[in-house]
């Protein structure tokens, strides 16, 4: 009964409670749709209107959107995984084993977190190359490209710090190989290595440090830079369009009245 649901929804929208929460008011006019974006603390990062030809799949392949999607999925599954995990040796390993064999859907949860993490790294790279080949990094979008590079590094670090947490052979030696590289930095290499691991080799201190980085510091950093990244899209004039591409008025001169149907 769609009409009944509509009526209920309309009633809900009229309540004092609803109106106190959503500032955009009710209605589905162009103005209200614009206000729904502009008057919302999260959505106001985005522009209220988007060029129609940038909405199709062909322009962006939705790579940035999908990267955000994997991030959200990772936050949700990550929080659920945190409920079953202690960052200590050897408890960490048995917790991950319990996730696999004891916890209901634990195996599925860990699988989803793992594959989404790989997907996020891949999508972030793909997004970067796509932006480059479209030339969307050029002025005035230079700084947003730099923010994107920072986000790529944060993504890699997030994935890398998460790699140690299961505390199995794969994790231990991957991190040993990786962190040994930091010792190669001239002059301060050994200090960096010690700071990263909280010791001279991968041990319980390293696990705790990587856990804090993985669950607190890096996600917060990512959220801050994501906010800037999205906000800059709007501030820099929306998604990049090439003038040579079909769709601009210069390429297809049309009377304005005909274009608005």
């Amino acid at each position: 009964m769609p009409s009944t649901i509509d009526t209920y929804f309309e009633k809900l929208e009229r309540t004092r409670m609803w109106r106190s929460i959503f500032r955009s008011g009710r209605g589905s006019s162009t103005l209200h749709n614009a206000l729904a974006i502009q008057q919302n603390v999260f959505l106001h990062l985005f522009p209220t209107k988007v060029r129609k030809r940038m909405v199709g799949l062909g322009a962006t392949w939705y790579l940035g959107t999908l990267t955000l999607g994997t991030f959200l999925l990772l936050v949700i599954t990550g929080i659920l995984l945190m409920l079953y995990y202690h960052p200590s040796v050897p408890q960490a390993y048995s917790d991950v084993k319990d996730l696999r064999f004891v916890v209901s859907s634990g195996l599925f949860l860990r699988n989803l977190h793992r594959w989404a993490a790989h997907a996020m790294v891949f999508l972030a790279f793909a997004h970067m190359f796509r932006v480059f080949y479209r030339g969307a990094y050029r002025a005035p979008r230079e700084f947003n490209w730099v923010v994107g590079v920072v986000l790529l590094l944060v993504t890699l670090l997030l994935s890398y710090t998460g790699y140690l947490l299961p505390w199995d052979q794969l994790a231990y030696w991957a991190i040993t190989v990786g962190t040994n590289i930091s010792s190669a930095v001239p002059l301060i290499g050994d200090k960096i290595h010690f700071l990263l691991l909280g010791g001279n080799q991968v041990n319980a201190n390293a696990l705790l440090r990587f856990y804090v980085l993985h669950c607190v510091i890096l996600p917060l950093t990512a959220v801050v830079f994501l906010a800037v990244h999205f906000w800059r899209i709007r501030k820099d004039g929306g998604l990049y369009v090439r003038e040579s591409e079909p769709g601009t008025a210069s390429a297809q001169p049309q009377p304005a009245s005909e274009e608005r149907k």
């Binding site: 999607g69 793992r114 970067m128 480059f132 890398y160 199995d168 930095v185």
Partner: protein
């Protein structure tokens, strides 16, 4: 839009007159504003719904993957038992492959450091903003220059036995050669495409090819002692 309030806002007499900015635009320097008449859609609901649908499709794909493939879990970490080979996560295997050839200072610090700097400064290089085809101007000179660079790179990689990285280098050099002898109105679509590629495109494409090849080699073709193995023979 806004619900009726039970108070009225009035403008008090102490309100100061706000200043006005007066802008003079002389005829000679008046900016030309190009106005495009282009169709736009509302972000809410049209774009948001599409974004949600795209994310949903991806989540479904990941859920299916998680149902059929399990995340790896090996024995508990054992510092006394080094697996051979000990591999980093896949996205670092290109770097690990480099570590096989060069000292850690070069492969682990210099190369990634330079890469990050290079990525950051890309938009700040204002050369060739129009993105013209690299070989459309000064063809002879530019061809000679690019072949010298490609040749030097090849010899360098050969000298350090980095045969793996030679493939993409030679491939890109070959494509550049083809581009130099193609024109923007070539009958062949691929050659027309190559002829119009700017210099930044060539560098990034070389980087992309190297990234793919090195990562693939590190993932599938490296066995004990980082020796070459064929993945289908194990």
């Amino acid at each position: 839009m806004t619900p009726p309030k039970d108070f009225t806002a009035t403008v008090g007499s102490d309100m100061r007159v706000s200043q006005k900015r007066v802008l003079f635009v002389t005829r000679r320097t008046s900016p030309q504003v190009k106005a495009y008449d282009e169709e736009r859609v509302q972000t809410f609901p049209e774009v948001l719904i599409r974004a949600l649908l795209a994310i949903e499709c991806m989540v479904i794909a990941l859920v299916l993957m998680s149902l059929f493939f399990n995340a790896p879990l090996e024995g508990i970490a054992n510092p006394t038992n080094t697996p051979n080979p000990a591999k980093a996560p896949w996205y670092f295997l290109g770097l690990q492959e480099m570590l096989h050839y060069f000292p850690p200072v070069v492969a682990g610090v210099l190369i990634p450091g330079l890469l990050i700097i290079a990525l950051i400064v890309i938009p700040y290089f204002d050369i060739n903003v129009e993105a013209e085809g690299f070989f459309l101007k000064d063809r002879q000179q530019r061809l000679r220059l690019s072949m010298i660079v490609a040749g030097a790179l090849t010899i360098f990689l050969w000298f350090f036995d980095v045969y793996v990285a030679l493939g993409p280098t030679v491939l890109v050099a070959g494509l550049m050669l083809l581009a130099a002898f193609s024109t923007a109105d070539s009958p062949n679509r691929f050659r027309r495409y190559l002829a119009l590629r700017p210099i930044s495109w060539w560098i990034m494409t070389w980087f992309l090819f190297e990234l793919i090849v090195l990562t693939a080699v590190g993932t599938y073709f490296r066995g004990p002692g980082w020796s070459w193995v064929w993945p289908w023979r194990s």
